[in-house]
Amino acid sequence: MPESVKPRGKGRPRSSETPNQSLMTILNLVRLGAATTRQELERTCELGRAVVADRLSTLTDLDLVDESKSGVATGGRAPKLVSFHPNAGCILVAALDQTSLSIGIADLSGRLITEHHEASELSLAPRSILDRLVKLIEWILPRHADAGPLWGIGLSVPAPVPVQSSEMFLSETPVFLPGWETTPVVETLIDRFKAPVWVRSSVETMTMGELTAGDGTDVDTMLFVKVGKRIGAGLTMNRTLFRGAQGAAGLIGQLPVTEGGKTGPLETMAGADMIQREGLAAVKDGRSSYLADILARMEELTPFDVAQAAQAGDGASMDILSRSGRMIGHSVAYLATMLNPELIVLGGSVAMTNDTLLAAVREVVYRESHPLVTRDLRIIRSQMGSSAGLVGAAMVVTEALFDPALLRGWILSGRPMAHPEFLAAREAAARRLAELSETPAPPPAPSI
């Protein structure tokens, strides 16, 4: 602990609290905006004036809070406003998805400072995707050096991520996708950028993003449904993400649905692959000259082309998207009836491109769910696009960094990278990288 940031012993802690605990409580109250003046802190924490003053002095020395601004006077002297310093550090966020790779930097409140998205195929060699990710991080960090030191990395991946064991910090990449088992994503990021890493599924991060910065800012219970090549759902209750026992909550893409006498998993029957397949069939059958024109000009037809064609009024494409929406709607109606959310947000690459799918989902959910469930239910399309995953990844990191169980280990040093368990995780990650480098290298990856 640096000499300058030692608690100075001012104020006498009550026997029921320790300096460390009151520091954490005050920091989190200020960070979440639950208290904005010393008086509010004294009242909320039931701590004496001297103790609050001492803890704020320590937090100011640590550059975590700021008391330079004054509020509005209500009779006497204007109170000093206590605010969290969101630029004390920054968070790097990244999202691997089926057809894109995204990266951004957020402040400690989870607000995105910058973001970049580029096309990328998950079917490429995992090592080449990791190399590209590292290159992008090396590009973005120096350009935003004024955002503060890197305090954590949030990574969003297109598959469920097992709930973490008792370890506080990851030192090894969790198994999330077949073929990625020997790709040291987490180890490389920790070793290269010296910051702790948290990994969540893209459905989970997008759910958190919609809750924090999208249309879910004023709701407690929200259901997010991601529609792309895969279909998955994320749920928040009391503004907290529900992950399930194994981190596998919301894998609705595997639920069977029946349409036109055929039964199959929802994501096979209604996802992006089906939309593309049916779009090509519409060209072949001569049902859509619109799609035929796109195919002739672009020499390929993507699910997004079909979705955009539906938005532009192409009849065949509207039929395809409506069919997809109805099938998704059946599954969502079950979820809605079970969970009674205030808001359902449709996101993902296909859903965000058009309104036909949204209309079909609405129609089925409102028709098939219990009337009490749909009385005040809103079903909307995401406005955040892929930014939702980045904002959500930042929220995962901030919630972890300031969780009292983890905060306890770094608050007095003022930086999470000094947490003793993270130092151990760094060493473990470096060891694992060394072990992997000794194993025979896989065949060279194609360049991306």
């Binding site: 995204s102 607000r111 995105l112 580029e118 992008l136 000009r297 690459s349 406005q383 955040m384």
Partner: protein
Amino acid sequence: MGSVTPPTTPSQSISGLGPHGERASDPRRLVITASDAAAARDGGYRVAVVLHTLSGNWSEQHLAAIAGTLGDVSISLLEAVDCQFNPDRQIAALDRLIDLRPDAIISLPVENTAVAAAHRRVAEAGIKLLLLDNAPTGLLPGKDYVSLVSADNFGLGRTGAELLAPHLPQNASVGVLTYGVDFFATNQREIAFSKWMGGQRPDVTLKTAAFPAPHLAGGTAESFLSTTPDLDGLFVVWDEPAVQVLETMERLGVSMPVTTVDLGEKMVPRLADGTVLKGVAAQNPYSQGLAMAQVAILALLGRQTPAWIALPGLPITSSSILGGYQSVWRAPAPAEIVEMTAR
């Protein structure tokens, strides 16, 4: 006006993603029908334009297309503001325009952070906000703004690399002169240039310098060239600073192949000559302005519009400059350029 169709552009896919990872929409899908035009004429709408600068071919072509297309349906263009790349000027202009209560504001945000709140105030005041080329971080389509129209800047950066690569020796060292401001368009160009070089010319080493403002690009180039004298080529992220870079190179007696983005007036004779400036990845500013105006008309009529409309760029070299000039400038090339290409 019965219907407005953008000029046919070469079939070319858009390689970049939008500021929120959106897939690009093709501007050819924006159609103003006769009934749309009639409704727009009856609406008595008023629109203002706020650009980073009003000088230069890029802005002139945009403004000509926007003013003309809006004029065709009797929509008044209240004012075109020159922000001179200055965030404070842009904030003041937006706040002033909000008080004038136009129906829509078309704005090119000059950076990503400082001007975000002012742009958000436009939408909060019930004025439709349409963005050109850049979206401030945190602003969302459909919520804070209607649509973004831009070039495929990722594709432009890639084209800049493709045009430079044939002129580079093996194991070349290449300088990238980029904009030191967080800006969607130039970020995309820089990233795409580096990605293409890394993938297709892994022998090339990239060195980067950033100019803090376009008018300071000459000074940045001078110090960059003096600290990295071993450069074999240069990519500059757009033409206005590239003019200064080329003048600085001439003054210092430095010659190496250069590529950039946009075929501004001062680029034309240099590209026709082709000795130093080997290629330009050109935007089509008139078509972009046209698409912008069409989106504005549709938005004013309450129609759903795409989150991101992107237009492909055009690679131009000395051998294709006449057609390229005509496509970009919507005019015949000057006689001296025709003469230069005939030599």
